[in-house]
Each structure stands twice: as structure tokens, then as C-alpha cells.
């Protein structure tokens, strides 16, 4: 076997071993070391069995993850998310938005969607948003005789927006993987992110207007009429603090006042202050947030340790070149290449989580982008849109399972899936739009930072 063939064997074996369910980061490290030992084997230098350059490679890759100045933002944003998640903020947010939106068709669904979007953006953690809203907004909508599928779709789709709208943790991870600027990627994701949220909103209002049975108007008793002043006060104490926090974090990053990690640190501090103001910060909750931050950071960053070791051995053996040659040999047009790549990523989203897809599989596509004249920033935003679907499509729709887990027993999983489908088509529309108008992603970063 030639070296490139061994590299392909290495990748194939790795994919098989993933299916055995072993923690992936350790598989990557071990396979990197094992195959690397072969790749860097040099009989001249062998004074003992440890004289192999793979060991230098392993520590160097590990150290470059440890001292990576982009990934420093990951634990900080996670910490901010865990704190905000525990700040008793969701119920205030939902209640006040619901009052504020009471004259719109499908007011509760609109409020639920807005709450999900804002809260998901602040926390960046999907499961928490879906379960919290599943306990709060979902029963409220069912009591107001909303259609079960419709209400479920709103919560699942809204809860996933946090991975696209900045300051998303997934985009930081993509930026670290692709070696592009987080700031530009954030700027690029702004318009597509709001566009998707807007499409969701249009769907919710449109559906509720066309078919009022899905989302009946609340009776006068259910929503007490409040003066405009009361509503404003409620919004001022619930919606605006969180929105201000997110906007100042984002603004600081986009206008170059602070690096993403600095903004994340200030955001975490702001989250702590918010929790104190809402009298929600207890010692117990602080401890929980700190420990969960450590665990999730370890999960993401150890994956990087494994992946970077694995990937450098893989490309040293010539694996990347072979794949590139193969794909170029297919004579694909850039459009076909992009569609193929997105289909593969979509399929990977069934069995795998976003972290594995971005850290391990996306790097296989990245070296091919220049051949097809695809900007890695544009590609990243397409991937982020695409990964929305991986949480929503059966069989591995995490968002739907979380909602099922907390929903009243009579709610069927199939009803949830049915409700999610229209939102999936919105994602598809957003992808097609982005595809045909790449300016949606490029205009804002170009406007802010020039070409």
C-alpha cells in the first residue's frame, strides 16, 4: 500500500470505529499516534522505540490547542450561557413579550419565537432553551388551544437559532478550524441569521393569519389589557437588559473595540450582574455553571487535540491530496461541489453532533474550497445554516427529543416532527437565498472592514 492509500484506510477505519461508540477524541489521538508512528518511522534515528517525530507532533498540536487565542472565547461564552440560563430570565421574557405582542395574530407563538431566538443567542446552548421553553411556553400555548404541532415546531426551530446568530460558539469553533477571522465570520452571519429568524417569524404570523384555528386569539380574560406604560416597564426589565447584553458583546466585537474573548469575558461578567439583579445568583447555581463550563469546554477542546493530531498525520501521509485529486477528477462545477458538500454535512448531522462535524469532517472540505473559488466564510455560514437541520430532522433530532422529554405525555413525537417540517423548508429557502445572493453574507463584513 502506498502512503496515501494508508491515509484513506486510516480515515475509513476511524469512521468505522466512531460507530462503535468510543469517545471520539481519544480514538483520534490514538490513531494519530499509531499511524503517525508509521508515517514518521525513520530507522536512522531509532536509538530507542521512542525516537519518532510523532511525539513532537503530538505535543506541538496539543500545545497549539492549549495556547489558541481564538478558542479562549469558548469557555467564556459557555460560562455566560450557563449563567444566563440560570438567571430566571425566560419566564419574564416570555410573559412580557406575550403581552407586548398580544394584538398580533398568533401572539403567543410570536412571543415564543422571539424569546427562543433571544435566549438561544445569549446562551448558545440548544437543549436548555428547548426544555425551558418546553416547560413554560409550550403548555401555555396548548392551554390557549394552539395546534400541538404548530406550537412544537415554533419551540424546536426557535431554540436552534442560537448556533447561527452571533455570538455563537459554533462559529468560533468553525473559525478556529478554518483559520479565518471570528470577527468577519460574525459579521457575515448577522444578516443570514436575522434572515432565518425573520423567515420563521413570517411563517408563524402567516400561518396564524391564514388559519386562525391553529393559533386562536386569547380571550379577554386570558390576557389582561394593560396600559402602554405597564407594558413598557415590563419590557424594560426583561427584554432590554438581555438584548443590551448581547448587543454590547456583539457591537464590541464587530466594531473592533475588543477581541471575541475579551467581549466574551465582559459578557460573562454582564451575565453575572444580570443574575444578581434578578436575585437569581446563588452559590449553588454559580458552582453548577462553573463545573458545566469546564466539562463542555473539555469536550470541545479535547476534540481539537485529537483532530489536529489526526489531521496532520493524515495530510502528511498524503490523504488530503488523494481526496482532492479524486474530487477534482469528478469535474464538478462549483455549484455541484457546494451542493454535494452540504448534502454530506446534512447526512453527517444525523448520527453526529455539531462539534464532531465542524472539528473533524469540515476540515476535509476546506482545502478544496480554493479550487472551486468558494470563500471559507461563505462556506461556514452555509454549514451553520445546514446544521440547524441536524437538530431538527429525524432520526436524531435532538431538539424534538428534548421537547418530547418535557412535554405533557399526550404529545406524540410524530406531532413534533410534523410541526418542525415547515421550519425545515424555511431553512432550505434561506440556504437557496444565500446561495443565489452571496452578498447576504459578504455585504456586512465588506462594509465594515473593506474588501
Amino acid at each position: 500500500m502506498t502512503d496515501p492509500q494508508i491515509a484513506i484506510f486510516m480515515l475509513g477505519a476511524f469512521i468505522l470505529i466512531i460507530l462503535l461508540g468510543f469517545p471520539i477524541c481519544f480514538t483520534l489521538v490514538a490513531m494519530g499516534v499509531g499511524f503517525g508512528y508509521y508515517a514518521y518511522y525513520d530507522p536512522e534515528r531509532m536509538h530507542s522505540i521512542f525516537d519518532n517525530r510523532i511525539f513532537d507532533l503530538l505535543v506541538n498540536q496539543t500545545y497549539s490547542v492549549m495556547a489558541n487565542d481564538v478558542l479562549t472565547a469558548v469557555p467564556l461564552f459557555l460560562f455566560m450561557g450557563y449563567i444566563v440560563e440560570r438567571a430566571n430570565i425566560v419566564d419574564r421574557l416570555f410573559f412580557s413579550l406575550q403581552i407586548a405582542a398580544r394584538r398580533l395574530p398568533g401572539s403567543m407563538a410570536v412571543a415564543a419565537m422571539a424569546t427562543c431566538a433571544l435566549f438561544a443567542t445569549a446562551t448558545g446552548i440548544i437543549g436548555a432553551v428547548v426544555t425551558l421553553m418546553g416547560l413554560l411556553a409550550f403548555p401555555a400555548m396548548l392551554r390557549a388551544r394552539y395546534d400541538t404541532s404548530f406550537a412544537a415546531g415554533v419551540i424546536c426551530a426557535g431554540g436552534c437559532l442560537g448556533i447561527l446568530i452571533p455570538p455563537s460558539i459554533m462559529l468560533i469553533v468553525y473559525a478556529a478550524t478554518a483559520g479565518i477571522s471570528v470577527v468577519k465570520l460574525y459579521a457575515g452571519a448577522m444578516i443570514p441569521g436575522f434572515m432565518l429568524a425573520g423567515l420563521y417569524m413570517v411563517y408563524v404570523v402567516g400561518r396564524a393569519t391564514l388559519n386562525p384555528k391553529l393559533a386562536p386569539k386569547p380571550s379577554e380574560e386570558q390576557v389582561k389589557d394593560m396600559t402602554r406604560g405597564r407594558v413598557t416597564v415590563m419590557l424594560l426589565t426583561s427584554f432590554f437588559p438581555l438584548a443590551t447584553l448581547i448587543l454590547s458583546v456583539l457591537g464590541a466585537i464587530l466594531f473592533g473595540l475588543a477581541t471575541p474573548s475579551e467581549a466574551a469575558a465582559v459578557g460573562a461578567l454582564g451575565g453575572l450582574l444580570l443574575a444578581i439583579l434578578y436575585r437569581a445568583l446563588t452559590w449553588e447555581r454559580l458552582k453548577e455553571s462553573v463545573y458545566l463550563t469546564a466539562r463542555t469546554s473539555a469536550m470541545v477542546c479535547w476534540l481539537f487535540v485529537g483532530s489536529w493530531t489526526f489531521a496532520s498525520v493524515f495530510s502528511y501521509l498524503g490523504g488530503h491530496d488523494l481526496i482532492e485529486e479524486f474530487v477534482l477528477g469528478l469535474q464538478l462545477s462549483p455549484v455541484m461541489f457546494l451542493i454535494l458538500a452540504q448534502i454530506i454535512i446534512f447526512l453527517l448531522g444525523w448520527p453526529l453532533e455539531w462539534s464532531e462535524i465542524i472539528i473533524i469532517f469540515v476540515p476535509i472540505f476546506l482545502p478544496m474550497l480554493p479550487h472551486f473559488n468558494v470563500d471559507p466564510l461563505f462556506f461556514g455560514i452555509l454549514v451553520a445554516l445546514n446544521l440547524q437541520t441536524s437538530f431538527l430532522t429525524p432520526p436524531m433530532a435532538m431538539a424534538a427529543y428534548y421537547l418530547k422529554g418535557v412535554a405533557p405525555p399526550h404529545v406524540q413525537l410524530i406531532e413534533i416532527f410534523k410541526g418542525v417540517m415547515p421550519f425545515l423548508s424555511m431553512v432550505l429557502i434561506a440556504m437557496v437565498l444565500l446561495y443565489n445572493f452571496p452578498g447576504l453574507a459578504h455585504w456586512f463584513p465588506d462594509y465594515l472592514y473593506g474588501k
Binding site: 462503535l20 490513531m31 511525539f55
Partner: protein, 204 residues
């Protein structure tokens, strides 16, 4: 064996949790830097080094703790469908094939790497303050050592499961909010079912 398992679990959790507090140091340290830079326009010369050192230490030292809580991602589409004994048997083999060799390599190479850094008292190239970084590089073999230790505990877990047919319980700890809420909802549902069946019994 149970005792050893819980002892190692506890050590890993203690180490991971102790270093988890780095996040607070990081939050306050970096926020302080932003404050002095904009308000007093005199940036610090240590905040940048502090941020990546806290981050690196945090996630490296939490590796073993995360393993003990089964927090490292795995592709478990097929895995979760298998009977527990089969899960444990395969995992046992994989620990020896894929876990110990890689982690041992990291300990071995990490000691070398850190030793070299200690030998000339390496300092950071990023800051004018000349922050030392040999202690930071030492984190690598230490974290790998705790992972190795936790690996032994995981092997014991597998053996217990193969023997008894069930995974041994884990120490109580914080869960992700979604997991905690789903469990809570399950418990409430069960309680309601019980109450309903009790009421039904009385009526008869």
C-alpha cells in the same frame, strides 16, 4: 474494586472542579484588562497570557472529570441500541486499543516537552512582562496522567458491567439543564401515574 472506582472518580471530579474555577479568574482578569484599556487607557501586560493559560489549564485538567461523567462526545447511534454487556465488552477492548496508548504517548512526550521548557526557564513570547510558561506546559503531562488514572476507573466500570449486566451508578453531580429537566419531568409523570393508580385502587 468499587472502592477504587469511586476513589478515582472522586479524584478526577475534585481536580476538574478545582481547576474549573479558572473560568472566574479568566472572566475577571480579562474584564479588568478591557476596563483599564478603555477607561484608564493603560492596558495590562499580563491579561493576554493569563487568558490562554487559564483556558488551556481549564480544559486540559477537566479532561478526566469529563470522562468520569461520560461527557466526551461519542457516536452512539448504534451503541445505545446494544445490550449493556456488549457495550461494556467492546468498550473494554477499545480502552486498551485506543485510550491507553494515546494517553501514555501524551504523558511520555509531555514530560519531555515540559522538561525542556523547564531547563531554560522558557518565557512567553507574547508579553513584554516575560511571563514564564514552563509551568503551563507541565499541565500537559499532568492532565494526561489524570486521564490515565480515570481510564483505569473506566476499565473497572466495564468489568463490573460485564459481571453484573448493569453499568455501576455514577456519583451525583450537576447535569446539563436539559437532562435535569427531562429527568424531573419523568419523575413527575411517574408520581402522577402512581397517584392515579392508587386512586383507582381506592375506588374499587
Amino acid at each position: 474494586m468499587d472502592k477504587l472506582l469511586f476513589f478515582v472518580d472522586r479524584v478526577s471530579a475534585w481536580v476538574g472542579k478545582a481547576f474549573a474555577w479558572c473560568i472566574l479568574i479568566m472572566t475577571f482578569g480579562v474584564s479588568y484588562e478591557v476596563f483599564v484599556r478603555y477607561v484608564l487607557s493603560s492596558p495590562t501586560d499580563w491579561a493576554f497570557d493569563l487568558s490562554y493559560m487559564m483556558y488551556g489549564t481549564l480544559f486540559m485538567m477537566a479532561g478526566a472529570y469529563t470522562l468520569s461523567r461520560d461527557g466526551h462526545v461519542r457516536g452512539d447511534v448504534l451503541y445505545r441500541l446494544w445490550p449493556k454487556r456488549l457495550q461494556a465488552s467492546i468498550e473494554l477492548v477499545l480502552y486498551f486499543l485506543f485510550f491507553f496508548p494515546g494517553v501514555s504517548a501524551l504523558i511520555y512526550a509531555g514530560i519531555d516537552y515540559a522538561g525542556e521548557s523547564w531547563s531554560y526557564r522558557e518565557v512567553s513570547i507574547f508579553s513584554p512582562a516575560g511571563f514564564p510558561i514552563y509551568q503551563f506546559k507541565t499541565i500537559m503531562p499532568i492532565a494526561a496522567f489524570f486521564l490515565f488514572l480515570q481510564g483505569i476507573a473506566q476499565v473497572i466500570r466495564c468489568i463490573i458491567c460485564i459481571r453484573t449486566g448493569d453499568w455501576p451508578a455514577r456519583l451525583h453531580d450537576v447535569e446539563e439543564m436539559e437532562t435535569a429537566l427531562v429527568h424531573q419531568a419523568e419523575r413527575e409523570r411517574e408520581r402522577e401515574m402512581q397517584q392515579a393508580s392508587m386512586l383507582g385502587g381506592e375506588e374499587k
